[in-house]
């Protein structure tokens, strides 16, 4: 920057000033037209993305700061690992992936702002990012307006589908229904108590769970409680649990509240080896903070656990540990984030182009056979076909898988009868 004080800048400046007078909006289009390199690039990139003969730019957009940094760090690590592995194997269409990382700072509007920067300023061919529903909701209109491509890793509430998003995590029905069937059959559960953090994902998930429990399983929900994010006092609700004595405690508490909840549950003498607790919000990452002893015996339903026994996963875990240290744990979302870059690479290669429209269209039915979770396939609705697993938390912070759905479950973001 400092040395570019020559004539070039001045004339550029003058030109821009004139442009500005002529018509301010035209400036936005300027950089888009600036690219025109070798013929190969011209054919694979007709929309002005940041693709050169040797490089293609991909954005990573997660929170490195703020309350969500706790959860999103794993996703950043997984995406960087995947991209490093792709680059080692020769990149995408012969081009190395260059990363531009932006910090969403746990602040939803910042996600929208940074998403816009990644698309409009940096012309990223794809963005791996967002974590909470709120950050996705904030960024989604930006991706739709500027026709970007987002790979979203978190399991989420559904009720959404976009050409511009590939959802690599599970939507709520995939995650919940199978595990409720399991708990009803295996534990003979008749009564359920819901405890969740107060925002859209737990509320929607619980709504789906309630419909399934009441209409399909013909059993009962005896309580449903929500607490503000970050709440740390659960003694009152624990007393309610003692009073209602539900067969199953069904939880979707998130973040710091999780730690307080399980510690207090244990302190109150609720023994999770006798009391069935089913959670859809605890992965290995969360147990790191909760402490394995405090939650041992609880059941979690996810599509991936670090302890999965298959060759893909063993390779993935080893590579992850090599890059980020032996002690880092890998949760469901981390694995889903790892899928993103590979799914994008395969879709680009299938489309033979980086153009977002072509990649989005080519994404349907992409199969990823080396996925750590086993095997995934993109549904035309841009969610993934995946298996659901129920696993029991062990004192060492890992999970032991006790159930795995027989087939891949079809993603169904707009479930009939559950809305």
């Amino acid at each position: 920057m400092a040395e570019s004080k020559g004539n070039g800048l001045q004339s550029a400046l003058r030109r821009r000033l004139l442009m500005g007078l002529a018509g301010v909006p035209a400036i936005a289009l300027m950089p888009r037209m600036a690219f025109a390199a070798g013929p190969a690039t011209a054919t694979v990139n007709t929309t002005g993305l940041a693709v050169t003969d040797t490089e293609v730019t991909v954005g990573i957009l997660h929170s490195a700061t703020g309350t969500m940094a706790i959860s999103e760090t794993g996703s950043i690590q997984a995406e960087k690992l995947a991209i490093a592995q792709i680059n080692e194997a020769g990149g995408v269409l012969g081009r190395k992936i260059k990363i531009i990382q932006e910090d969403g700072a746990s602040d939803w509007p910042t996600f929208a702002e940074k998403a816009k920067k990644l698309l409009v300023n940096d012309h990223c061919a794809a963005v791996m990012g967002c974590w909470t529903s709120a950050s996705r909701k904030a960024a989604l209109p930006v991706f739709e307006q500027y026709n970007g491509l987002l790979y979203y890793p978190t399991f989420y509430e559904g009720l959404e589908q976009s050409k511009n998003v590939i959802y690599t995590g599970q939507e709520a029905t995939q995650q919940i229904l199978e595990s409720l069937n399991w708990v009803a059959k295996e534990k003979g559960a008749k009564t359920y108590f819901f405890i969740g953090s107060d925002y859209i994902w737990p509320r929607t998930s619980n709504k789906i769970a309630r419909k399934h429990i009441e209409n399909v399983l013909k059993t009962k929900v005896v309580g449903e409680e929500y607490f503000p994010l970050g709440h740390t006092q659960f003694n009152s609700v624990i007393n309610k649990l003692k009073l209602t004595k539900p067969d199953v405690i069904f939880t979707d508490v998130v973040g710091g509240s999780n730690v307080a909840f399980y510690k207090q549950l244990k302190a109150a003498g609720i023994d999770l080896s006798k009391q069935t607790l089913l959670t859809i919000s605890v992965t290995e990452d969360e147990i790191d903070g909760i402490g394995g002893d405090n939650i041992a015996g609880a059941y979690s339903c996810m599509k991936y656990f670090q302890s999965l026994k298959n060759p893909n996963n063993e390779k993935f875990v080893a590579a992850f540990h090599k890059m980020w240290g032996e002690k880092t744990v890998i949760g469901d979302v981390t694995q889903a984030a790892y899928l993103g870059p590979f799914l994008w690479k395969m879709a680009v290669e299938k489309a033979g182009s980086f153009d977002v429209d072509k990649v989005a269209a080519a994404s349907a039915d992409i199969e990823f056979k080396e996925a750590p979770e086993g095997y995934v396939k993109i549904h035309p609705n841009h969610h993934l076909w995946s298996k659901t697993r129920v696993a029991k938390a062990l004192p060492n912070g890992q999970f032991e898988v006790v159930y795995e759905s027989k087939d891949l479950i079809e993603p169904n973001p707009f479930p009939k009868g559950y809305q």
Binding site: D107, A112, A134, A138, P141, Y199, I200, R203
Partner: protein, 383 residues
């Protein structure tokens, strides 16, 4: 902080002194000419977003700088303004046609997700734009009036007021997040598209809104300047420095304070409404404590006594924040925290203070040298 020179009476106290006209011209030139020419549409939209915060900072200059009332809950009013505007835009975006995949078409999507089947009564009037604009002004003002008159009449001041406003910000956040069927919860109100049929998401719309925003800002500065110059402004300053004396002189101190607080609230709400228009959504993360305190720091960096300083301070801090977080995402909090401490310890009057101590005297000397007219001898501002 009253300088001993300020013995001027109303007569030789013009609306704005020459230096202030120059400041205004400079600010206007930067907002309307320099930035639009230098920045691309994306960066300009960002600046537009920052400028909406400067409405809040401007309000804080009046109620904190002049009136001595520090509110840590300005996010409440910024949020109210933003939410009221967002309600209108959301209703427009949720036409039956746009929402036909919902189980109840024609209501905002988040209501549908929360099994609400009918538009709640307090949403209904927001189909009208004039009503919305009126509400953006009146609702926050009324809210501020209730809070202000309850507290100032009981002589709650200083730190207590700050803490209570902070608690109000916390309450409103929990309320918005908890009542998600009516408010969109933590996601906020997203995916806003058109204003009376005009697509607000295009670069062209962003540009126009940027200029509207700038125009409103200048209008607010002029209004604030009018208040500052009026008798009311001088009573405010007097009250800040010696409240009892003003009270014993027979002035209704509580009413003056309430007025300053309401004015700050209205400014913040205008900023919030403009924010929603330019950014395209509103979320509870602008209502809470953290944004409220950050907005105070904008005013502090700019100089809590300077109307123009508030705008410059907002621009500077946000520019620093964006740059820091783009180049050192993991370290920018250190920078921001350091800035807070530095400004408070070393430059309590912020940028404007630095300007007044180091730059203005030289400028004045130059001006005097050029044009030796003692009539415009530029006495320091009353503060």
């Amino acid at each position: 902080m009253i300088s001993p020179k300020s013995t001027s009476t109303v007569h030789d106290n013009p609306f704005m002194k020459p230096m202030e006209w120059i400041s205004l011209a400079l600010l206007a030139a930067v907002i309307f000419l320099v930035l639009p020419m230098l920045l691309d549409a994306f960066r300009l939209n960002l600046v537009g977003k920052y400028l909406t915060y400067s409405f809040v900072a401007l309000g804080l200059v009046i109620c904190w700088g002049f009136g001595g009332i520090l509110s840590l809950g300005q996010g409440v009013f910024f949020g109210l303004g933003g939410y009221l505007m967002a309600m209108f835009l959301k209703l427009e975006a949720s036409s039956v046609e746009n929402t036909k995949i919902q189980s109840t078409p024609g209501i905002p999507d988040f209501m549908d997700w929360n099994q609400i089947t009918e538009l709640p009564w307090f949403w209904k009037p927001f189909t009208s734009l004039p009503f919305t604009i009126l509400a953006v002004i009146v609702v926050p003002a009324f809210f501020a009036f209730v809070i202000g008159s309850a507290m100032f009449r009981r002589r709650v001041g200083g730190t207590y007021f700050a803490i209570i406003t902070q608690a109000i910000a916390a309450i409103l956040t929990i309320l918005i997040v908890g009542q998600q069927g009516y408010t969109g919860g933590i996601n906020g109100i997203t995916d806003l598209r058109t204003l009376n049929g005009w697509d607000i998401r295009t670069d062209r719309a962003h540009n126009i809104l940027y200029f509207v925003n700038g125009g409103l800002l200048v209008a607010c500065i002029l209004f604030a300047q009018y208040v500052k110059r009026s008798k009311l402004g001088r009573i405010l300053v007097a009250m800040r420095d010696k409240e009892d004396r003003v009270r014993f002189s027979g002035y209704p101190v509580a009413s003056f304070k309430t007025f300053a607080f309401c004015l700050a609230a209205v400014f913040a709400a205008i900023g919030g409404a403009m924010f929603t228009l330019q950014v395209g959504f509103m979320s509870p993360s602008f209502v809470g404590i953290v944004p409220s305190i950050e907005m105070v720091i904008y005013a502090a960096v700019g100089g809590r006594l300077s109307l123009f300083g508030a705008v410059w301070g907002t621009l500077l801090v946000n520019w620093a924040k964006t740059t820091f977080s783009e180049s050192f995402p993991e370290l920018w909090l250190f920078g921001l925290g350091g800035l807070f401490i530095l400004v408070v310890l070393a430059f309590p009057n912020g940028l404007a203070g630095i300007y007044r101590t180091y730059v203005e005297p030289r400028l004045t000397r130059r001006v005097k040298a050029l044009e030796p007219a003692p009539a415009v001898a530029l006495p320091h501002a009353a503060e």
